[in-house]
């Protein structure tokens, strides 16, 4: 079996290149990270890639396989597979990209619960219904796959990207939060979303950020109507 890997060290190389490697010990359900580890220990290829949990829980290892973002630890390797880094972020080296670029903008969303200063030593009651509203949105493992495929984010940074709208939706739906998340959403380009649904397709957790954005758009529209 052969795999093709994007190679680029911005400190040393003028431009990226692609290299082929042969996997001699293939086993059914071998995952992409196993293939990369194999190549590194067998050939001393020293391909840089990020990984931690190898169980689809940490979101560290997202990359593009045959142009589609996937978690390298949960995706079977196949013959002729093309492995490239996620798009829309600078390459640190090979398959590792600087997703850290997004942190300042995420911090600016004030991604924590805002409420009165009430400090309680007892468990705060929560309706099961309210728990359910945020549960799915908190499944996000922040793999940045959605940020790699979003055509609007690719074209204009006026749109904050699906991950950031997922964060806003998570707080918008939390009954404990009282900061006006919709206003922030508008400032971050809420209306630029074209509802193409690519973020949902790319999400390994099946989170429908697209739908959340549409819900927020509707709410903003309706509240502007009542104001007028």
């Amino acid at each position: 079996m052969k795999i093709t890997v994007f190679r680029y060290n911005p400190q040393k190389d003028n431009e990226p290149r692609y290299e082929d490697y042969v996997i001699r010990e293939y086993e059914k359900h071998m995952k992409i990270i196993d293939a990369l580890n194999y190549v590194n220990s067998e050939y001393g290829a020293n391909i840089a890639f990020r990984s931690s949990c190898r169980a689809g829980q940490c979101g560290s290892c997202a990359l593009r396989a045959n142009k589609k973002p996937v978690l390298a630890c949960r995706t079977d390797v196949e013959d002729g597979i093309l492995l490239e880094p996620l798009r829309n972020f600078p390459v640190i080296k090979d398959l590792a990209v600087a997703t850290q670029m997004s942190y300042p903008r995420i911090r600016a969303l004030r991604p924590f619960i805002h409420r009165g200063t009430k400090k309680s030593d007892t468990l705060e009651p929560m309706l099961l219904r309210d728990l359910k509203r945020i549960s799915k949105l908190k499944d996000c493992i922040e793999c940045y796959s959605c940020m790699s495929v979003c055509p609007v984010f690719t074209n204009t940074k006026e749109f904050a990207g699906p991950l950031l709208f997922r964060i806003l939706a998570r707080f918008h739906h939390d009954v404990r939060d009282n900061l006006g998340r919709l206003t922030i959403a508008v400032e971050e380009g809420l209306y630029l979303c074209t509802s193409c649904g690519a973020c949902l397709v790319a999400c390994p957790e099946g989170i429908d950020t697209n739908k959340e954005i549409e819900k927020m758009q509707t709410l903003v529209y309706e509240s502007s109507k009542t104001k007028n």
């Binding site: 590194n40 689809g56 705060e124 929560m126």
Partner: protein, 561 residues
């Protein structure tokens, strides 16, 4: 000095960004000091907390009203076979509840049975339903909440920097060196107080639940500057890890499967736990379930791929999806539908009960060096109960944060010995000059010998073999070859990790060799019984270039064996 690419200065330096490190940061920050968290991988995503599935023990008694802190204490010490530091256990059970309420205040939300009552499930070795959870992604929920609070408190976090050593002066820690993977820099950190929260060392074994980063860095760096380690022979092998394909080997199959009613069978279709612990069956303590599964496999009653069967298919599909969604997905990925078919499982290296020896305020034997979470030792004794580790990260993370901040407020910065700094720089760069083997090859050899010789079943002979092999690998370190450059250089990182792993492996093996009895997770085939004379903790510290090893009686407050 010219060897350093950049210098960071802070009051409290926290090494590790999992559950314990993040909780420590939040608490330290409240005490009006500068805090910097340095993480080897991504913050909150390269440790074990985010992978923790089953839950967090807190004796609320929401479901079983009889439950209380005293029972939690007793179950923990009984599970730990009386090696626990009982003062630490008192703190754990006393503060576990308030710390999970903190997590909800930070933004977490755990499963409930009614709006004001959290859901609690059965876990091994516990008399009551005590384990609070969020489906089978409890750690993910905890980490989410902690990261939101860390952002609120505006704590500085530096990702993808591997701390390679601590620097000391006049008996205290004054700095740390780090390898910045993103920018390819060699960094110096100066601080007044230090917290190690680097987690365990699962990666010294070939089969483990742990993420790639868990090479025991914290044990190694603390030991090297003279801190005492305790109970290092106590390595927990989780009973249920995935068996196949080989790429998934060792991945955790949560105890929640058994907590929710999962049953274990051998190839003859027998519920074999009846022979090992007829009363608690599948929910016996982890050490016992692990050895039971191991015996079934050794005695020829293994499943198709060499494990045993774990079956949950009798539960309704919806329940499995809701309570064990991660497991459902994890097995579907490899072609097994756990709603219809049994899983195949076998033991996997999971948790280190031992670690940096700390007192009630998480202080190590060095006054301004603190430790919390898995890297610290003492609270779990010889065997940890499932669900006590997440609680430990929050309870002791909070304490370490508070006391490190207080310590930092009293101290000035210490002087950096630049000669030592240069030595460390040269240590990292020396690999480049070598010629020969890749670090992965030596790593794999170490992992194999540790699994075979210092694993679930140990003997004097196997342990001595391990010592010899470790020595041999150590000698070969000098023949390691790595590509030049610091930026995201996984070969270099593997070489640096390997040195830590070798030291930790040797420490574990030496302690295991000394303990001539079987207790908790430590099983000696040549001394298969628990021996009252061994009701002692083994303590290890550095002496010159060797290991000093001695015993002390465990700290008992309430419960005598």
């Amino acid at each position: 000095m010219e060897t350093v690419d950049d210098v960071y200065q802070t009051d409290v330096l926290i090494i590790g960004g999992g559950g314990a490190g993040a909780r420590a940061a939040i608490e330290a920050k409240k005490h009006n000091v500068d805090v910097l968290v340095v993480v080897k991988g991504l913050f909150g995503r390269s440790g074990c907390t985010v992978m923790a599935e089953g839950g967090y023990n807190a004796a609320f008694g929401f479901i079983d009203k009889e439950d209380n802190e005293q029972y939690h204490f007793e179950d923990t010490v009984n599970g730990g076979r009386y090696l626990n530091n009982q003062k630490l256990v008192e703190i754990l059970v006393g503060q576990a509840k308030i710390r999970i309420i903190d997590l909800e205040r930070f933004g977490g939300a755990f499963d409930r049975i009614t709006p004001d009552k959290l859901s609690q499930r059965y876990f091994g070795g516990q008399r009551f339903r005590r384990t609070v959870h969020k489906g089978d992604r409890t750690g993910h929920e905890i980490m989410f909440a902690l990261r939101e609070e860390v952002t609120r408190q505006n704590v500085d976090v530096l990702e993808e920097v591997a701390i390679t050593s601590l620097l000391t002066s006049e008996g205290r820690v004054v700095g740390a060196t780090g390898l910045d993977l993103i920018h390819g820099r060699f960094l110096l950190f100066r601080a007044k107080a230090f917290i190690i929260a680097t987690g365990g060392a699962g990666r010294i074994y070939s089969i483990t639940t742990n993420p790639f980063q868990k090479s025991g860095d914290g044990y190694a760096m603390a030991f090297k500057v003279g801190a005492e380690l305790v109970d290092m022979e106590m390595v927990q092998f989780h009973p249920t890890g995935m068996v196949f394909p080989s790429s998934s080997k060792g991945l955790l199959v949560t105890e929640a499967v058994r907590g929710e009613g999962g049953k274990l069978y051998n190839s003859l279709g027998e519920r074999f736990m009846a022979r090992y612990d007829a009363e608690k069956m599948e929910l016996s303590t982890r050490d016992i379930v692990t050895r039971s599964i191991f015996s079934e496999i050794q005695e020829g009653r293994a499943s198709e791929h060499g494990g045993v069967y774990l079956d949950i298919s009798h539960l309704p599909d919806e329940t499995i999806k809701q309570k064990l969604g991660t497991m459902l997905k994890q097995f579907l990925d490899v072609g097994i539908d756990i709603r219809r078919q049994p899983m195949e499982v076998s033991p996997t290296a999971h948790h280190f009960m031992g670690g940096i020896r700390v007192n009630e305020v998480c202080r190590s034997s060095i006054s301004n060096l603190f430790a919390c979470g898995e890297v610290s030792g003492g609270v779990h004794g010889a065997n940890r109960l499932g669900g006590n580790s997440l609680a430990e990260t929050q309870v002791f993370g909070s304490i370490a944060g508070e006391y490190a901040a207080k310590e930092a407020r009293k101290l000035p910065y210490g002087d950096i010995n630049y000669a030592v700094l240069d030595e460390e720089h040269d240590r990292l760069y020396r690999f480049e000059e070598g010629e020969g083997v890749l670090p992965y090859e030596l790593k794999a050899r170490l992992q194999t010998t540790m699994w075979q010789n210092v694993g679930i079943i140990r003997t004097e002979k196997s342990l001595k073999e391990a010592i010899a092999e470790i020595k041999e690998i150590k000698n070969e370190i000098y023949s390691i070859k790595v590509e030049s450059g610091l930026r995201y250089n996984l070969e270099l990182l593997a070489a640096v990790d390997l040195e830590n792993m070798l030291l930790v492996a040797e420490i574990i093996t030496r302690a295991a060799l000394m303990r001539k009895e079987s207790r908790g997770a430590h099983f000696r085939k040549d001394y298969p019984r628990e021996d009252r004379r061994w009701l002692k903790n083994i303590i290890l510290s550095k002496i010159n270039d060797g290991i000093e090893i001695y015993t002390e009686a465990p700290l008992i407050t309430k419960m005598k064996p």
